[in-house]
């Protein structure tokens, strides 16, 4: 769950991190904040500035006019139903402070840069020496002395160093206490009169942990909190229903596309890799999806039937990374059963099956029995996608 800026700032302020004076406005009218002000659309997506979702006003009249305008707008596909109006501060320097979870190291990671207001990933790629990173334990959090060590590497000293490390340590505490996946202040401003203030921030909470935070869980359910965004198609909703048939694994997280090749793909990044590879080889996916965690044969079967029910979809490519917590034979059973139940021939309908891993011998026996051409782990995801596309186009 991505929190809106004002929701994130409430959490920061409660922990003692300074934020600009501001008012949340739902309808046009008098703004009870002296100008100059910054007017910010409250939508759950980045890139607001470029899309015109953040504007400044120098006097009261301009502020009221711009608030009214903003409240009638759609920014990045979200209808703006509330704006945050904040005092405009005189900034001397800006910094980046971020905490996220490093899924490879399986630890939180603190990221700092003396250049705020930037895209941190681009900066890390372009000028890695300007970005400090440090893992920390979920048990200890980010102690202030560790934050100081990190920040001092950017040649920051004195009061600024002390002030920043205190905020950085608090940001890590917020990350841990709220089961966040991201807490980011970008930029944190040092004003001309020496104060440090979080100008913008971004907090995302782990959806699977929302039940531990009932007030936030309640907010997430509020249909008026966020208006707009991409609405799931009926095809996607039906896939979600399939995924909800039982609690075993995932088979139904699906996004619809307008191509002719049905995809049953999975394995975290592997599904993205497979999707990209299909396109790179000239294929047109009918859908993106994620399966994994050993879904029941029933769910995989129903998902297969659902994908094949889409007009124009004659063939399916099944591509996963080497699986350890999903069984190859159970995926093979589900896919083949789905194809058989819609009256098609598995050997013709499956243009590629590349799922190596747990119980693959058993899976390969099933595929052989139905005359399906399958690939083992010696065939890369990219090559499997190429073969699938070739079979689809050449028959």
């Amino acid at each position: 769950m991505r929190l809106l800026e004002y929701e994130s700032k409430e959490i920061l302020a409660k922990k003692g991190i300074p934020t600009p004076a501001g008012v949340l406005v739902y309808s046009p009218g008098t703004i009870s904040l002296p100008p100059p002000v910054v007017i910010k659309a409250q939508i759950p997506i980045g890139g607001r500035q470029k899309a015109g979702g953040v504007v400044e006003a120098l006097d009261q009249k301009e502020a009221e006019y711009k608030v009214e305008q903003m409240l009638s707008r759609t920014v990045r596909d979200y209808r703006v139903n509330k704006v945050l109006v904040e005092e405009k501060l005189d900034t001397a320097q800006e910094f980046y402070l971020g905490i996220t979870y490093d899924t490879v190291a399986k630890e939180p990671i603190a990221i700092f840069s003396a250049e705020g207001g930037v895209d941190i990933e681009q900066l890390a790629e372009r000028e890695p020496e300007k970005v400090q990173k440090r893992h920390f334990s979920v048990r200890t959090g980010l102690p202030e002395y560790t934050a100081r060590e990190m920040i001092s590497q950017a040649s920051i000293t004195g009061r600024t160093l002390l002030g920043l490390s205190n905020i950085f340590s608090l940001l890590a505490t917020i990350f841990l206490e709220n089961d966040a996946t991201v807490t980011e202040i970008n930029p944190l401003a040092q004003t001309k009169d020496g104060k440090r203030v979080a100008l913008d921030c971004h907090v995302e909470i782990d959806d699977d942990a929302l039940y531990r935070n009932p007030p936030l869980a309640q907010k997430e359910k509020d249909p008026h909190r966020v208006e707009g965004g991409r609405i799931a198609s009926d095809f996607e909703k039906k896939a979600t229903e399939i995924d909800n048939l039982d609690q075993r694994g995932v088979a139904g997280r699906l996004i619809e596309f307008d191509g002719n090749l049905g995809l049953i793909i999975g394995g975290g990044g592997a599904s993205l890799t497979a999707f990209d590879a299909v396109q790179r080889h000239g294929g047109h996916p009918a859908n993106y999806c994620e399966i994994g965690g050993n879904p029941s044969v029933l769910k995989t079967k129903e998902l297969t039937k659902h994908i094949l029910s889409k007009p124009g979809v004659e063939k399916i490519a099944v591509i996963m990374n080497v699986v350890s917590n999903t069984r190859v034979d159970l995926i093979a059973r589900g896919v083949i059963k789905g194809i058989v139940e819609v009256g098609k021939n598995p050997s013709e309908t499956l243009c590629v099956f590349r799922v190596p891993g747990a119980w693959e011998e058993e899976g390969f026996k099933i595929l052989s029995k139905y005359g399906v051409d399958y690939c083992d782990r010696t065939v890369s995801i990219d090559e499997a996608a190429r073969r699938g596309v070739e079979k689809l186009t050449k028959g």
Partner: protein
């Protein structure tokens, strides 16, 4: 009948649910249900069988046979 798996219970050997019923208790994917005094495999579920063999190990009288149709 499953597309891939079928399970047979030899009722001549089976001790019945009241005396035993272990297959119903141990199967992690609910393949078995009661059919009067004896267990039976639910046809619609047979393809969910994980081949874990817990039922075979639990059955003291070797009454259960698992057929992998794709091997026949």
């Amino acid at each position: 009948m499953g597309e891939f798996i079928t399970l047979d219970i030899d009722l001549g050997r089976c001790l019945g649910i009241e005396k035993c019923g272990k297959c119903i208790q141990v199967c992690p994917v609910n393949i078995f249900t009661s059919n009067g005094d004896y267990p039976k495999a639910v046809e619609a579920n047979e393809d969910e069988c994980t081949l874990c063999k817990l039922c075979l190990q639990g059955c003291e009288v070797d009454a259960i046979t698992i057929h992998k149709l794709y091997e026949e």
